[in-house]
């Protein structure tokens, strides 16, 4: 027991892939680290940082191009099988057999790992109790919710007690409640079984629970240490500022993001703006930037340290993956506005697929020029609501008006008034940026010189390279191109479906900067997101869960109703969902 080797020792590890443009791409760029046994370690970093590549190499599923990798004291290059016999690895999308029931999935994985029958009974009942799946053993895995699937995946990974547990982004796309449950299970297991765990995550609140945190960006290790050690990096730089009455926090935040020499990062939060100032910045200039608004220091968080590290790393590289595209000039938008009436009216909207209700009795209105957010975890009904708004899906019942018409039955010309940015930024990948924009310009009825001018203008505004194949663009640029295509015809209303998923935090700031600019020029914006904190950028939000509309109002109003005024939107969301579920349970008992 005394001589337990470190869980993982990595020396100068590297891995190169072929990028989408055919050029080699360094996924892991000379990483060295050591993780002591019995710890809960987190690997954090934005999407594309190399977290999954690193996890897969530790699991012996990917051969490194260079460097050495020891797991549990065994050289992976020599005996990968022995390592795999002793670890458990849960990939991002766990391979559940969707047609098999919960119990059958567990049995199957127990068989695969050769778990003896007498051990199973006890282990299964414990796992089922922990994951709260005991009532659903007969249900096919495909019919579970996203959170339940993830819990079942974790249970299947843990049918035996491994020496090391590797979890690759276990909470991606999982609702905040299930996310909390998932972490409770992991922490219980560490306590009872003495597991060593390595978990990769993009959520800082999860990293904060770990013993040791490794921060990665673009294949490199930026820093590592305990959460407290890392936080110290941002000490004294973190503040919170309250805007003047009547000024949306996002306007102040936008101004601050535009001054990178003074401010590293700024996010709206609960009507205020939380920000990190540049180390040693000019205080007078900062004061001027803030228009003498009330500015207070606040305690630093892991998120602050993380953003600081990312900014410093990216500045050093000068790589253009993230700078804000539309500095401050917003696209000129024709707003033939007629008063403050609602541009979108939704009344008693219902959508059923067979006996499954994807959207239940939803009503809301969106005013002209508003930023309206549809929030909720994956599977909450956001995308279904969104597709009905855009006329892509007929409603089962209810009323639905966008700019005064139902887009599903309206004349084609009515669709020219809306812009649409699809999930995954769908564009024609083997056409160039110019060809894509030229096509969408034509599809929206722009012709000849008008179209050429407009396409060139938008290419300049969004700082795009017209000749690049759009399939070769990094995700952040794909998002920009998709936005450009959606704004080409200067729509009154812009619909964006999950525009920030898979995008790193810096590009997400840039994206919201653009949205703020659009809103200032009078465009109505409807946006779906599963990042709860992005609600702070919206004028009003609707929170959905399991198809039902749980809360509707300004971010501050929603927080107040949840009883959690300060702190993160995530907690407000959990409180709202729990309240709703409790009310439903009560209602069922009463009936």
């Amino acid at each position: 027991m005394n001589d337990t080797p470190p869980s993982v020792v990595i020396k100068a590890l590297s891995k190169t892939f072929d990028g989408p443009d055919g050029k080699p791409f360094q996924a892991i760029d000379g990483i060295s680290l050591s993780i002591p046994p019995g710890t809960l370690a987190a690997v954090v970093g934005p999407d594309g940082a190399g977290k999954t590549t690193l996890m897969r190499m530790m699991a012996g599923l990917l051969r490194p191009d260079g460097g050495r990798l020891h797991v549990l004291g065994i050289d992976l290059a020599e005996d990968a099988q022995e390592v795999q016999n002793r670890i458990s690895y849960m990939p991002q999308r766990f391979g559940l057999y969707e047609d098999l029931s919960v119990q059958e999935n567990l049995d199957l994985y127990a068989d695969l790992h050769g778990v003896p029958a007498d051990v199973r009974v006890e282990r299964f009942s414990r796992l089922l109790a922990m994951t709260d799946l005991a009532h659903f053993t007969d249900r096919p895995a495909g019919k579970l919710s996203g959170g339940m699937k993830q819990k079942l995946g974790l249970a299947c990974t843990l049918v035996r007690v491994p020496d090391l547990l590797l979890l690759d982004e276990p909470s991606v796309g999982v609702d905040p409640l299930s996310r909390r449950d998932l972490w409770e299970i992991i922490e219980q297991l560490i306590e009872s079984d003495g597991l060593s765990v390595i978990v990769s995550t993009a959520y800082m609140d999860e990293a904060e629970r770990c013993d040791h945190v490794f921060v990665m960006n673009r294949g490199m290790l930026l820093a590592d240490g305990t959460p407290d050690e890392l936080k110290a990096g941002a000490r004294g730089l973190t503040h919170v500022v309250s805007p003047d009455d009547g000024v949306p926090a996002r306007d102040l935040q936008a101004r601050m993001i535009d001054a990178p020499e003074l401010v590293v990062d700024a996010v709206p939060s609960g009507g205020q703006v939380r920000f990190i100032c540049q180390p040693g910045c000019n205080e007078a200039a900062l004061k001027a930037l803030l228009h003498d608004c009330d500015c207070q220091p606040r305690e630093e968080e892991l998120e602050d340290a993380f953003m600081l590290l990312l900014h410093q790393h990216d500045d050093g590289h000068g790589d253009a993956s993230s700078p804000p595209p539309l500095a401050s000039q917003a696209p000129a938008v024709a707003t033939n506005g007629n008063g403050d009436g609602p541009v979108i009216v939704v009344r008693d909207l219902v959508r059923r697929f067979g006996d499954f209700t994807a959207v239940a009795n939803t009503s809301f209105e969106v005013k002209r020029g508003e930023i309206f957010g549809l929030l909720g975890p994956n599977g909450a009904g956001k995308t279904t609501t969104f597709r009905m708004l855009c006329g892509l899906l007929p409603a089962t019942s209810g009323e639905l008006l966008v700019a005064g018409v139902n887009l599903r039955n309206a004349r084609a010309a009515a669709r020219a008034r809306i812009g649409y940015v699809a999930q995954k930024f769908s564009l024609y990948s083997n056409l160039s940026v110019y060809e894509n924009l030229d096509f969408f310009g034509g599809a929206y009825g722009l012709r000849g010189k008008e179209r050429r001018d407009r396409v060139n203008e938008i290419i300049r505004q969004f700082d795009l390279d017209p000749d690049v194949h759009s399939g070769n663009l990094p995700l952040g640029y794909k998002q920009r191109l998709a936005m450009a295509a959606g704004l080409l015809h200067q729509p009154e209303i812009l619909f964006l479906d999950e525009p920030t998923s898979g995008i790193d935090p810096l590009a997400r700031r840039a994206f919201w900067r653009t949205i703020t600019a659009l809103s200032q020029s009078g465009v109505t914006v409807v946006v779906t997101t599963h990042f709860m904190e992005e609600a702070e950028y919206c004028d009003r939000i609707a929170i959905q869960d399991a198809g039902r509309l749980l809360a509707l109002g300004t971010p501050r109003g929603v927080r107040e109703r949840s009883g959690i005024v300060s702190g993160h939107m995530n907690e407000a969301f959990i409180a709202i969902v729990e309240k709703a579920r409790a009310a439903e349970a009560e209602g069922q008992e009463a009936a």
Binding site: Y420, S426, E435, F439
Partner: protein
């Protein structure tokens, strides 16, 4: 009028995008020309029912001038190629069993004497029946040689039957197959191309993007159908050139009528492909549906087997098969030189198929739930 121009401009933009997307992908570029080229050469050379170089063995127990003459005639046809000269009848089984020869000709020792007496002189032909088609054809040729041999010996026979096949005087099966390929090969490609066109966009999410533009389903359909039809006709042209210039199958009919027919036929194929595409949720499904359809479409086209021999139910079913009328139309125009009046009927089922499948596809665009 202005609205019409605007609408046509939108369709044009879509057509151009489709063609660009098709041509810019190197894999697509190969698919556009490669398979049609290879397959038409393959069909031209390989798919022939005519016999050439039939290996055979001889057991000549007669060793007479008459038997020698008969064998010379057999060799002189150019169809048969003597592989072995046997010395006893036991060897026959040996050479046929191991597949060295397709046929053995056994001439009995009393062959010459029987002939001299003016009686019947049977020659035994043992055939490898494992391939009945080839064996039957070979037996037919031997028969023909025997008849000619008899005729020569008997002097001028009282009646001779002279066969003359119209439109294909030598009954060269290549003449029958290649023109049909002008329709068949292009159908294979256009069906797949059209079937993938919407399915691909659905899978990549661009179809939603297309549906939220002011383009109407009809415009989307037209914009997607035109490039597919053009590709189909281009492929037909490729096969036509190979048939005409490489295999030198002479063409009797008018080119414009052939193309008129091809446009009608390709339109119907694209309509079917579009419907598959609008129905499929992803490319895999579209591909599966297409291949499921291709087999019956080919079988029920009369390409290889006569429709007249099919059970009545299947014969009725062939009316829904544009390939049946496409093959018929191309063959008749190409070989027979048929005029518009002769083939007018072929257009009816093709146009009916197109006018059902196209609107169906357009309707499905918006109403197929993903």
């Amino acid at each position: 009028m202005d609205r019409l121009i605007a609408s046509l401009a939108q369709i044009f933009v879509l057509c151009r995008k489709e063609i660009l997307a098709l041509v810019k992908d190197p894999a697509n570029r190969v698919i556009l020309v490669g398979p049609a080229l290879i397959q038409s050469l393959l069909f031209g050379y390989a798919a022939t029912f005519d016999l050439k170089n039939v290996p055979y063995a001889v057991l000549d127990q007669s060793h007479s001038a008459a038997s020698a003459e008969f064998l010379t005639r057999l060799d002189g046809t150019g169809i048969f190629k003597r592989q072995a000269t046997l010395t006893n009848s036991l060897q026959i089984a040996e050479v046929i069993d191991d597949g060295r020869v397709l046929m053995a000709v056994s001439i009995p020792s009393d062959f010459a004497t029987r002939l001299a007496k003016g009686g019947q002189a049977p020659v035994q032909v043992i055939l490898d029946g494992r391939n009945s088609t080839t064996a039957g054809a070979a037996a037919g040729y031997v028969n023909a040689v025997a008849t000619a041999f008899n005729a020569k010996r008997a002097g001028a026979p009282p009646i001779t039957v002279v066969r003359r096949a119209w439109f294909n005087p030598n009954l060269d099966s290549r003449w029958q197959i290649l023109p049909a390929m002008i329709a068949t090969l292009s159908m294979l490609q256009t069906l797949l191309l059209a079937a993938l066109s919407v399915a691909r966009e659905r899978e990549q999410g661009t179809f939603d993007q297309l549906l939220v533009t002011p383009l109407t389903p009809l415009q989307i359909l037209t914009g997607k159908a035109i490039p597919a039809v053009l590709v189909g006709v281009m492929q037909s042209t490729l096969v036509l050139l190979i048939a005409r210039l490489w295999f030198e199958v002479p063409m009797n009919g008018s080119l414009w009528l052939l193309y008129l027919g091809l446009f009608g036929f390709t339109g119907a194929s694209v309509g079917i492909g579009m419907s598959i595409s609008a129905l499929a949720l992803n490319m895999q499904q579209a591909m599966l549906y297409t291949f499921m359809l291709l087999m019956p479409l080919t079988l029920l086209s009369g390409l290889v087997t006569p429709i007249r021999n099919m059970p009545e139910v299947l014969q009725i079913l062939t009316y829904a098969n544009p390939l049946r009328f496409g093959v018929d139309l191309v063959r008749r125009v190409y070989l027979e030189g048929a005029g518009l009046f002769d083939i007018a009927f072929d257009f009816v089922p093709m146009l009916v198929v197109a006018s059902v499948t196209m609107p169906l596809a357009a309707w499905l665009f918006r109403n197929r739930l993903a």
